[in-house]
């Protein structure tokens, strides 16, 4: 079952919250994982793996660097769901 864009955003916010302790409201679509949310590359990998499990998609290592903002990740997951 495909997740809506809002559901993906909400789900990502929960994953970020579990990994970093950041409030879910802070995980807004336009925020940069690195510059705004202060998420380092290792935490980002944990978030990616948990997003794969939650949304049933594959995010290869080489694509992770392209997920700069939360919206980038939402778009990637939405597109991967359609594939």
């Amino acid at each position: 079952m495909a997740f809506t864009e809002a559901e993906v955003l909400a789900g990502l916010a929960e994953i970020v919250n579990e990994e970093t302790g950041l409030a879910v409201e802070a995980v807004e679509a336009n925020k940069s994982f690195t510059d705004d949310l202060d998420i380092d590359s290792i935490s980002m990998m944990t978030i990616v793996v948990n997003a794969e499990k939650k949304f049933g998609v594959k995010i290869p290592d080489d694509d992770v660097k392209d997920l700069v903002t939360v919206q980038d990740a939402v778009d990637y997951i939405n597109k991967a769901q359609e594939a």
Binding site: M45, V48, D61, V64
Partner: protein, 333 residues
């Protein structure tokens, strides 16, 4: 046709004794933070490392091997002449050939026994244990010396932010001996050759021979990709090793993963859902990442600081450049 005679099959194998060489120079995060525009806080947060140990210029891989080996042989209640073979896992012995192991036979006075090096990076100690276990159970040797030894400070670049700042030097050794009871489980091991360049040297020696402008080769890694592989693929390997050993996580006394990064260790333990009763080796905080030496060094420290662990079961897993991995359960000496 005559029937060939073969070695008489052995019974079981176990780790009989352990020894360690820890490098003499303590290197703090502040000591190395400058060239990578970093700080003590940044390094601690990303790696859990507070200090690492590095050897002096005049101390080589063989010196480290010798000290660890003599301690392991003595703690096994043996003498050098009782050793039937030597396996050294190292990626920092500075000769293509001859091997470090052959030289060590002479230093230890073992006599003219089989001796060889293996190249399996941070999984090398687990590879060596697997080989020694097979040799003992096949009846080929009664006592095999297995050493993980690295002088990684020879292949670091002070300005590299990918791996150099986590690396240390050291050697850990064990003697694998014949036993009436099983003391080493079947090894779960393998490789992932498509990720060969994930942890790599900057250039080959032939590149440098042909272009003398190139600097001496040093190590690099794609850290986040290594983290992902080591934790989630590593957890599956570790679970397979438990299954192969016929035990559950609750049966373990200790978990001794390769000391690569504290965050890998913590996340691996989380994925494995280890009970609180299982002691987790965290030698990396003080001694850094010593590649093939890290598991025996961490084990030696656990046994020294918590002698009650002796006789208990430990799950050990190594993973590193190749990519290669290996895991088994051992009964602690």
């Amino acid at each position: 046709m005559p029937t060939l005679k073969t070695a008489e099959l052995g019974t079981f194998s176990r780790i009989a004794g352990i020894g360690a060489y820890r490098a003499e120079n303590l290197v703090t995060n502040d000591d190395i933070a400058g060239p990578i525009n970093s700080s003590d806080e940044w390094i601690r947060q990303r790696t859990g490392i507070v200090t690492r140990r590095r050897a002096s210029k005049d101390v080589g891989v063989l010196d480290m091997c010798e000290e660890a080996a003599l301690e392991a042989i003595a703690s096994s209640g043996l003498k050098p002449e009782d050793i039937g073979g030597i396996i050294i896992s190292t990626v920092t012995f500075p000769y293509f050939t001859p091997s470090a192991a052959a030289a060590l036979t002479d230093r230890l006075g073992t006599g003219p026994i089989p001796a060889w090096d293996i190249s399996a990076a941070c999984a090398g100690y687990c590879y060596g244990i697997s080989q020694a276990d097979a040799l003992v159970r096949a009846g080929t040797m009664d006592n095999v010396l297995v050493i993980g030894a690295e002088k990684l400070s020879d292949i670091i670049d002070p300005e590299d932010r990918s791996i150099s700042f986590i690396l240390g030097d050291g050697a850990g050794a064990v003697v694998v001996s014949s036993s009436d009871e099983p003391g080493i489980s079947k090894t779960v091991w393998g490789s992932k050759g498509e990720s060969w360049s994930t942890i790599r040297m900057t250039d080959s020696l032939l590149d440098i021979r042909d272009n003398r402008e190139l600097p001496f080769p040093t190590l690099r890694q794609d850290g986040p990709n290594v983290f992902r592989w080591a934790v989630w693929d590593g957890a599956e390997v570790a679970k397979e090793a438990l299954t192969a050993a016929g035990i559950e996580a609750g049966d373990l006394a200790a978990f001794v993963p390769h000391q690569a990064n504290m965050r890998i260790i913590d996340e691996l333990a989380k994925q494995l859902k280890l009970p609180e009763s299982v002691v987790i080796a965290r030698d990396i905080a003080d001694n850094g990442n010593t590649s093939a030496a890290s598991i025996p060094l961490a084990t030696e420290r656990l046994l020294r600081e918590q002698p009650e662990l002796s006789g208990g079961l430990a799950l050990q897993i190594g993973f590193g450049a190749g990519l290669v991995f290996g895991a088994q359960v051992v009964r602690l000496p």
